[in-house]
Symmetry: C2
DNA sequence: TTGTATGCGTTATCAC
DNA sequence: GTGATAACGCATACAA
């Protein structure tokens, strides 16, 4: 019995359209099957399929025709094992709902696809144990390169897993690689603060994420720095650093608005937090911008919908995505290495009606 | 020379931290390397690594310790080739920026990860050629199952590629599989229309996507059906079916608002279109809801921010994601097959201030 | 131009 | 309890 004989066991009277192959056979067709049917060696078939020029034109055409008819699909796992060239690129993100990540993942999946790679997406949930598991599974898949948006507290084991591989850091710089694409938030937050100062505000508050991640730190420092240049400072009571969730933002804002003297200017340093803050604002019936000026962070697409419009600090999502995709592309295509060092793309401040002069009686 | 001897060529004085392995070696360590170092056979090492009980406890521990020390990472491609059990699940989406898809992708990546699979993400861009290429690459990766949000005009070749595989349709039903998770938009669109009718509106307009996809059709039919029950109909002039992009929405709305008699009630049937429409509304200074009532579709997170709030029809994204992840999970774990037939989750109508009685002088 | 034989890293089937 | 050895599907060095 030939090695492939046992393959041809499937019945002709196949079941539903979903569980039968193109020719009615459930089993995948391999090179050896084609070779047998054409009375050729696997080597010749392989060469024909790969357009190796030494193979006879007629034979080659025959092979490719048969391959098409029989619905032959190459096994990339086997090919990759033999060629020692992995077909995958990994992308690790905390979550893919975040617009920054979804746009970047989208761009990278398209780009690497054009290069013949495929993108394996893994989610860390910003949890260091899940992150390690995710990275390990990427390593097991022999990824040719990986894009990593590290969690704030990446473990040593995780870092070790990354050693010796082509990695590009995205959105967060944790010193894992020479290749990094981040958003430079600081100037935009400083600008926003300066605007608020010029509008006469004195009671500032900031709601942002924990400052161990570089982004969180930068945003907070943007506000703090500009305040201190004006001889002011952010009190601890009016600085809230939280996990980036809607509910945390809501809770923090609610408390901020209902205890002590209410701030007249509030800057929010995260997209999810912004949504929670907005909910608290609306629920408490706080008039924007008459009673309070508000600067939020994140997706700008809805900010312009209603009057007075929402002043928004927004990351250059598309540009970040394009940049990281370009770097990965260059890294993979093996040509000249991309320029080393972090690429810092400035965030943009979009001013709309949600900021206004401080109310007269403030302080 | 032993097979592995040529491996140990890397120098001790390694370069930067990013291009050296944990032990300073750039080469990956394989089972045979561990076996040689411990003077064992590859079989024993493999068994120890896989916790096969027949192996001596001491030996097993030794092996696992060494594996850890040397940073051994299994090659899943080789394992999968041998075991004939693919480690991947594929997910095909038109784009991953769309909230419905990003949430579903997120959920599925997490779920399949827990089952030891990894998710390969491919993007079709709603283009049938890219879609075919994407599906083919998934087939080449030998995916154990795949989740597909088909493009409106999926080609025959693409369908053939899907035959014989476990597939779950997501968000769009194109008759590719018994397993389908979609949003039932029709009732919500009908509800919205009924509200608008009760508010005395007579000049309706609808801006939606081309109706060849079931979703687009359902949404339009929800509006049309309710109008006809009230003895009214949507004129062709006030029905715009377009590709789902912000710019298309803007252009269509702009034209709708500036030519002929302006509608007093507008329903939008797509998230991207909604953003374009909103931009046109604001740019033309149309007062909502005084001059026009507006119902949009999509992400509801920002709709409640400002007064009067945005009446929104929103898909149950989380529930859809959870459902599709559950089905895939059941399909993969090979237990009892999930219940066949499409799962239709109803869209939700969130009523806010953007709808109001029709202005007095209308018709 | 084509066929034979070998190996990619792993697991499984046999002996021992 | 352990060790040779053969496969998994594919690509290539070498022989013919």
């Amino acid at each position: 019995m030939t090695p492939s004989a046992r393959r041809h066991i499937s019945a002709s009277g196949s079941g539903s359209a979903y569980d039968a192959g193109p020719s009615g056979g459930g089993e995948r067709v391999r090179i050896v099957d084609l070779a047998q049917e054409l009375q050729l060696s696997v080597a010749t078939v392989s060469r024909a399929l790969n357009h190796v020029p030494t193979v006879d034109d007629d034979i080659a055409q025959q092979v490719r025709d048969l391959a098409e008819r029989r619905g032959y699909v190459a096994n990339r796992l086997a090919r990759s094992l033999r060629m020692r060239t992995p077909p995958f690129v990994g992308f690790l993100v905390p979550d893919v709902e975040n617009l920054a990540y979804s746009i970047a993942v989208d761009a990278c999946a398209k780009y690497v696809g054009q290069l013949g790679y495929q993108l394996i997406l893994v989610i860390s949930g910003d949890d260091s144990a899940s992150e390690y598991a995710a990275l390990r599974s990427l390593a097991e898949a022999q990824v040719a390169g990986l894009i990593v948006a590290p969690s704030p507290d990446m473990s040593e084991e995780s870092r070790a897993l990354l050693a010796g591989r082509s990695v590009v850091q995205f959105n967060r710089d944790c010193g894992l690689s020479d290749y990094t694409v981040v958003c430079d938030d600081r100037p935009a937050f400083a600008d926003a603060t300066r605007h608020l100062l010029e509008l006469g505000h004195t009671r500032f508050a900031y709601v942002g994420t924990t400052d161990v991640v570089s982004n969180g730190r930068d945003r907070l420092e943007g506000v703090r720095g500009e305040l201190s240049r004006a001889g002011r400072r952010l009190s601890n009571a009016s600085t809230r650093l939280l996990p980036p969730t809607e509910t945390d933002g809501y809770a923090a804002a609610y408390e901020l608005f209902t205890t002590g003297s209410r701030p007249t200017a509030l800057v929010v340093g995260s997209s999810n937090l912004s949504m929670g803050v907005a909910r608290a604002v609306r629920e408490l019936g706080i008039a924007i911008p008459q009673e309070m000026s508000l600067v939020v962070y994140g997706d700008d697409r809805w900010g312009g919908l209603y009057e007075p419009g929402l002043t928004t600090i927004t990351a250059p999502y598309r540009e970040m995505a394009r940049t990281v995709a370009d770097i990965v592309t260059e890294l993979l295509s093996g040509g000249r290495r991309p320029r080393r060092g972090p690429v810092r793309l400035p965030a943009e401040l979009v001013i709309r009606g949600s900021i206004a002069p401080a109310p007269p009686r403030s302080r």
